[in-house]
Symmetry: C2
Subunit: 258 residues, 2 copies
């Protein structure tokens, strides 16, 4: 690529999270970087957008030596992508990368994830996009092993492009680099969260809940992201946002809607 690619970076853990700092470090090797990310944690925001409230979006300096620009936004990850493309960038980015998320976005987590929704939004706007996640929720997670895979997968997307309507969901196991067996292309495992609400009473006597739960995977397939992550692989799932269940259209047409 003669000209350096323009790389839009966002996340859902907030602009100061270690995960996005690692992602920026790797992307600076590959192209011109602009960061537009939430000013606060936005995990589990899904594809939420801000329509009933205003959005702030200001330049910030997090690394004083940095030569790239960073913008901190009061909205959701999807807001960040929209603002970047319409207001901040003066040309369409060549790629949008989101993450590196602190915690898994494998399987059904893809639909709750702000990280992946940002990537999907970029995809909707016709930009090749990847969401990266490390299977470690802690704020001091070790992102060192991620770098190699983030670099090689991003390079492949820059070289090959992605078909319209598809973005990539990349998850990285919590392992040292030498223990990671390689990269596996997978399908999303059919799994779900079984919630276990923690019911409490506030000082005024009113009941309230904390949402918590357990991830349950009934999918025994060895072609799934869950299987591959458990077996030491980095997973790549191609994700689409045409949600139509095309295979069910014919049967639905036989229904009697009157």
């Amino acid at each position: 690529m003669a000209k350096k690619p323009l790389i839009l970076i966002t996340n859902d853990d907030g602009i100061t999270a270690p995960g996005i700092r690692t992602l920026i470090e790797v992307m600076l090797e590959l192209g011109d970087v602009v960061v537009v990310a939430p000013d606060s944690p936005q995990s589990a925001m899904g594809h939420a957008i801000t329509i009933n409230s205003t959005l702030f979006c200001d330049t910030v300096v997090i690394d004083p030596d940095a030569t790239h620009k960073e913008y901190s936004c009061s909205g959701t990850p999807v807001d960040c992508v929209k603002l970047a493309n319409r207001e901040i960038l003066n040309r369409k980015p060549d790629i949008c990368v989101s993450g590196i998320n602190h915690g898994s976005n494998s399987s059904i987590n893809v639909i709750y994830s702000g990280t992946m929704s940002a990537a999907v939004e970029a995809g909707v706007e016709g930009i090749p996009a990847i969401g990266f996640s490390l299977l470690d929720y802690s704020l001091n997670a070790d992102f060192e092993a991620c770098k190699t895979f983030v670099r090689s997968i991003t390079k492949q997307v820059l070289e090959n492009g992605l078909p319209k309507g598809i973005v990539l969901n990349v998850n990285i196991p919590k392992l040292k680099k030498d223990a990671i067996k390689g990269v596996k292309v997978c399908r999303q495992a059919k799994a779900m969260w079984v919630e276990n609400f923690d019911k409490r009473t506030n000082p005024m006597g009113r009941e309230y809940y904390w949402l918590s739960g357990e991830f349950v995977n009934h999918d025994k397939g060895e072609d799934t992201d869950e299987w591959a992550l458990k077996n030491g692989y980095v997973t790549v799932v191609p994700v689409q946002f045409d949600l139509t269940a095309h295979h069910f259209i014919q049967e639905l047409n036989s229904w009697d809607f009157k």
Copy 2:
């Protein structure tokens, strides 16, 4: 059906919105109803869930003559479905219906919609589910024509069930009943929003944005929801939450990830 079906009702416009009141009215003809809906508007919340904050969920009486129970929840539409299934209902509902949304959830709107995300969440939890939307954003929208179609489509789902992994996205044009041509099974049109941020300055001199935009449909297909709605049909799109782009897995496997 010998036993009356248990029907869980939710929405994203809030528990007092006219759309959900119409939905409740129709569902009371078909089964035992429990309402668990947000206490305030939650449009465009996508599949957001509340993980960093507490949830209130209280019984409320909106119609003094009602014999069914209603719960008002401080969370998102997806939170409502999770709370209903784990804490409020003593058995798995036979169906979950969400809406009737004030405004379209056709095409790409499905991924931003709290109404549809609630239906998808029910689907993830193994409950047949339908999201209903009327193409009229106004609070005093006329839901009269919706009733027939909401009734017949819900009855079909109660009779036929839905395959695992599929929920229905139903949109109803803003037309008098006689002007509606019928029900059409469709695919999601490939369309997008082109944002036009409105940039302003607050009294303290800080710039801020309002998100607004225009819906742009480049999909000329006559099998799409957009085409059918424009041509006077109620649309039914089967929606899946396995987002894997299965058709791209083979090609991705040829990439050189190193």
